[in-house]
């Protein structure tokens, strides 16, 4: 459903009614109510336009909301005409995405990439875009290379994307097209001021993953949280819906030159970081597979992992190094995303500050690509302004004082670290074999062994059967005549974006 809405957004449909229900929702709901979604929305919608039911797409959506439009699934020539018209409209959106990608490339050439690896990634989360903006700018001035605006707790389960500039999120700010635009504009200003291109990140996840990915492409966001299984495991979204949505959203990301961030860190908040270390590796391999399949390239794969081992465990830091090195070596060309301790943070903010320092050190020593900055108040409150400032000071000290330690760090082949890394890899391979060899689902409606593994609680200890979870009602099986020009255009691949690939490919080492 959200794929179809995303398609309409590409075709230029935006805005919402006075109750803030977006027009794309009205239109898709109306189509669905009359003719179902099996053929996609493009055929019925552009057929209705051809038939003169309304003059513009926008007016069609408005009228459809009041029930005054009649939809049909066109056939034959009518279908061809509708498909062609839809394709023309959607192509405009894709061209905007291409243009934004070119703008990004130009700005990076002008302002430059961060001087150091890992890139420094910082979260803002006031709930109010107007407070977020100055906080983000302040963070960039203090050294952040990437700003992520966390979303309000409720958003991922909304089956629509809110509209306009918003000021009332809980523990995060709504992801809206306008908020994206405002923040990107503010950071463009700051990039100019600092002579360093500041990247912007948001979340393409939840029930509106495809639409948000689309808006991110249109508004030139630079990275997006986007995991193939996060919604299933941590938001109890239906697995089928999630796999459908993540495919489309990743195609958009591929086209937009956006780096995705996957969410393996989350597993370690519910499962133990030592026992479940291999599930992180398995999930990284799955995320890589689904990403490549959707057209993403290595430099766009911000595969996630995290510093979540119980710090009271003997040799905990060396275990972290082992896990971090394993990921580094398995995915040498991906800008891995290294996540800070959260589960074992406590109200002892001094201890937390130290732990974050060792997290930073592990990130530097093992050459991670993106470092999400840890906050000493992790277990207390959403970060204070001063937490962020102190945290960046921590990162700066560690990278500058000890970043060069990579030169001196050579874990011996039969030493503790390499032995541990091999053990985790072995477990991962074994788990993948078990999943692949699982024949229980054969012949059932859901024969895929991965779905069975998810249902069994393999990842993050969450059991998610394929028939349960939110949003299943929004999924339908494609009819043979299904048309979606967005997917066609995305699959035919981008044109003229090779330049940017090389630029960023290089900087991503």
């Amino acid at each position: 459903m959200s794929v179809e809405r995303a398609t309409l957004r590409l075709a230029g449909l935006s805005g919402a009614d006075h109750e803030k229900v977006p027009w794309v929702n009205h239109l898709v709901t109306a189509v669905r109510g009359q003719v179902g979604l099996e053929h996609g929305v493009v055929l019925p919608v552009w057929d209705a336009l051809r038939r003169g039911e309304a003059e513009t797409l926008g007016m069609l959506a408005q009228k459809s909301a009041s029930g005054s439009i009649r939809f049909e699934v066109p056939e034959g020539r009518a279908a061809t005409t509708a498909a062609r018209a839809g394709r023309t409209a959607v192509a405009r959106g894709i061209r905007t995405i291409d243009r934004q990608r070119a703008v990004r490339d130009r700005l990076i050439r002008r302002h430059g990439d961060p001087r150091q690896r890992p890139w420094i990634y910082l979260i803002v989360a006031t709930g109010d875009i107007m407070e977020d903006i100055p906080q983000a700018q302040a963070a960039a001035r203090e050294g952040a290379d990437i700003i992520a605006v966390i979303r309000s707790t409720g958003q991922s389960l909304l089956d629509y994307v809110p509209e306009g500039a918003t000021r009332e999120g809980f523990a995060g700010t709504y992801a809206t097209q306008e908020n994206f635009r405002l923040m990107r504009a503010a950071l463009d200003e700051t990039s100019r001021e600092l002579g360093r291109y500041i990247r912007l990140t948001n979340y393409a996840s939840g029930l509106c993953m495809p639409e948000i990915a689309t808006l991110a492409g249109l508004e030139r966001l630079d990275m997006m949280l986007n995991d193939s299984m996060y919604g299933i495991l941590f938001r109890d979204i239906n697995p089928i819906r999630t796999f459908v949505d993540q495919r489309f959203s990743r195609q958009i990301h591929a086209r937009a030159g956006i780096i995705i961030n996957t969410g393996e860190d989350n597993y370690l908040t519910t499962a133990d970081a030592v026992e479940a270390a291999h599930t992180v590796t398995v999930s990284q391999l799955l995320n890589e597979y689904f990403a490549k399949e959707a057209g993403l390239e290595d430099w766009q794969l911000g595969l996630g992992h995290a510093f979540e081992i119980n710090p009271d465990l003997p040799d905990s830091f060396r275990l972290e190094l082992a896990h971090a090195l394993l990921a580094r070596q398995l995915f040498p060309d991906a800008p891995l995303k290294w996540m800070p301790p959260t589960k074992h943070m406590t109200g002892d903010v001094f201890r937390g500050y130290l732990l974050d320092g060792f997290f930073n050190l592990a990130g530097a020593m093992t050459g991670q690509g993106i470092l999400l900055v840890g906050m000493m108040t992790e277990a207390v409150v959403t970060p204070f302004l001063s937490d962020r400032d102190l945290a960046l000071q921590n990162v700066r000290y560690v990278l500058s004082a000890a970043g060069g330690l990579t030169e001196d760090f050579h874990p011996p082949r039969d030493g503790f670290i390499q032995t541990r890394a091999r053990a985790v890899l072995d477990d991962a391979v074994r788990l993948l074999e078990t999943i692949a060899d699982d024949t229980r689902g054969r012949g059932s409606a859901y024969p895929q062994p991965l779905l069975a593994a998810i249902a069994d609680g393999t990842f993050g200890l969450m059991r998610r059967p394929p028939t349960a979870g939110k949003g299943l009602e929004g999924v339908c099986r494609k009819a043979p005549g299904y048309v979606n020009p967005a997917i066609d255009l995305l699959e035919s691949g981008p044109a003229g974006v090779t330049s940017s690939r090389t630029t960023q490919g290089r900087s991503a080492r």
Binding site: L157, S386, L390
Partner: protein, 255 residues
Amino acid sequence: MSDLVRPYGDTTGDGMVQVSFTLPLPHDKRAEGAALQLAKKMGMDPALLVHAKAMGPDFTFFVVYGSVTHLVDLREVTVVEREYPLLTAKEVNAAVKRRLRRKLVVVGACIGTDAHTVGIDAILNIKGFAGEKGLEYYREIRVVNLGAQVLVPDLVERARAERADAVLVSQVVTQKDAHVHNTTAMSAAFREAYPAGQVPLLVVGGPRFEEGSASALGVDRIFGRGTTPGEVASYLVDALITRREAGSRADRRSA
């Protein structure tokens, strides 16, 4: 020991505390004066401004050390001591079986948009917490765990359908008092949906509830950081069995 105590830095009675905060002021002498004024208002005298750092053009971060003039009066500290005896799993099962004569039904959920299930799972799932098994492990307790982001109407409905003796709700996100809003909405809904006196026992938990605010929230009890499943099970037996029996004995006596 005296009933009056003061913070201890390195000598008895020195009253030393450490404070840090940000003021929305550019870093200059006036901001430093403002920080000291705040410290004085907090009762620090002398107050020593040991660190001040500009965070951008509009904010300054401060660290202040100093001696607070306040005395802590231990006589005025009210401690919420555990009001129920701690039972083993065996004892809990025995009490339910013998005195309730049916399984005790517990419905659990994270409500609102809160998706932090680790806390409630720690209480409910077999796996448990801090080495103690969760309520699912208790033979005589039937647990219905609805998971995260449950809407209040759905919770009420399910509680009725399952004939819940107790409803256990978790709230971890507290920004803008989300936990307070969600909990009061929840308790109001239960009071509306059930006849007076028949509302199931309402229990909330989470790391950042204010102690002693149960009645303000309209619930029967709050559990905080580090709660173990055994504590919750023991409380349920006490509240649902022991105290009710005592109550009805008293009723009978007075009748």
